[in-house]
Amino acid sequence: MPTRGNIYKEGNTSTLFDLYLGMDDEASGYENIRIASSVLGFKQKEISHVVKDVEQFTELGEALYRPLRTYSAGMRVRLAFCIATSIDTDIMLIDEIIGVGDNHFLEKAKQRMLNKVGQTKMLFLASHAYFVLKDFCHKGLVFSKGKIVYEGNIDEAIDYYDRNKHVL
């Protein structure tokens, strides 16, 4: 088990590694916005911005009054994605989970990220879903056993991965 390592980064980061964000299944959508915002350390002013943003972006409407346990996986990803991307940061790290969303959501999420280019300076997305990767990224890194084995534009990286996936 690795017990050592270093992180070098310039700028502040936000992450979306899981859909959990400390949220409570029994609490309503609105309450969970507050919970997640507290966990992520948003300031009071920012929280009211996040609430408005969620209302607009997620199209959850009335569902925001219902407990989180009544949400489908797609609804959860919309909520979590929106909260996590609501406050602008320099670097955004996202894991696999974004693929849970439906096509409509993915299109909106892509638009949102594109609009944020300029504010968010870097989006880092880990996924095996090619269509998601092609949608969001223009550069690709292929990893094997924790090391970068290929670096190039996204189409070439996917190509490389496809050709070598039996040995990676």
């Binding site: 088990m1 690795p2 017990t3 050592r4 390592g5 992450t15 979306l16 590694f17 899981d18 959990y20 964000l21 400390g22 409570d24 029994e26 609490a27 309450e31 507050r34 919970i35 507290s38 966990v39 992520l40 350390g41 300031k43 009071q44």
Partner: protein, 249 residues
Amino acid sequence: MSLYSILQWIYLGWIDIKGRYRRTVLGPFWLVATTFLSIAMMGVIYSTIFKVEINEFIPYIAAGIVAWYFISGVIMESCNGLISNKFLLLSKPIPIFLINMRILSRHVIIFFHNMIVLILCLLYFGRLQDVLIFPTILGIIFNCAIVIALGIFLSLICARFRDIVQVITSLINILFLITPIVWNKKVLESRDFLAEWNLFSHLVDLIRSPLLGQIPSIESYTISFAFFVFIALLAYISSRKLRNFMYWL
């Protein structure tokens, strides 16, 4: 780490309590009911065993148990503090102090719920006017400081060495029995050093005595303060040494 972020995590502790009792009929009064039952049953049985006056004994047990539930509750939960927040900690660096603040705030809320039982009990036995408010608050603050320092230390060490979680769980059960909570240290007679040397009997006493109308001994204050300094130092050292605890989550 700002005052605002501390308030946010206190709020999260409140949310936890709310979440735990959602969709139950009695809600947090389940806690009150549990405390009430344990005080009533232990009070009757132990006062019979030790052949002491029940009017004296039940308020004693009640104040002791409420204090003990608070102290032991924070300690037990702190063991899993970092482990159960794994997902949060992996996606965002959060000061350990805040995680422990959330646990503490949860137990302070539970403590005040349990106070209802205690107040009713003191009222019933006509002891309510004896309560020394200022020393009680001082006792609570002392205990908060100690359990938060102990919590930071334990949450770190338990994340790294998982066996410690089991050790603490068994120790807490033993401590409940060997600390004068459901028995008075007077019954030890010439062997009362067994209680004097037990740190936790002093910690419990800081809350219990003023609730029963006595000022805790200076000894209890000094010992508790010395313990706090020691544990705070330990917490500081462990947070330096185990800076990479994330790898062990």
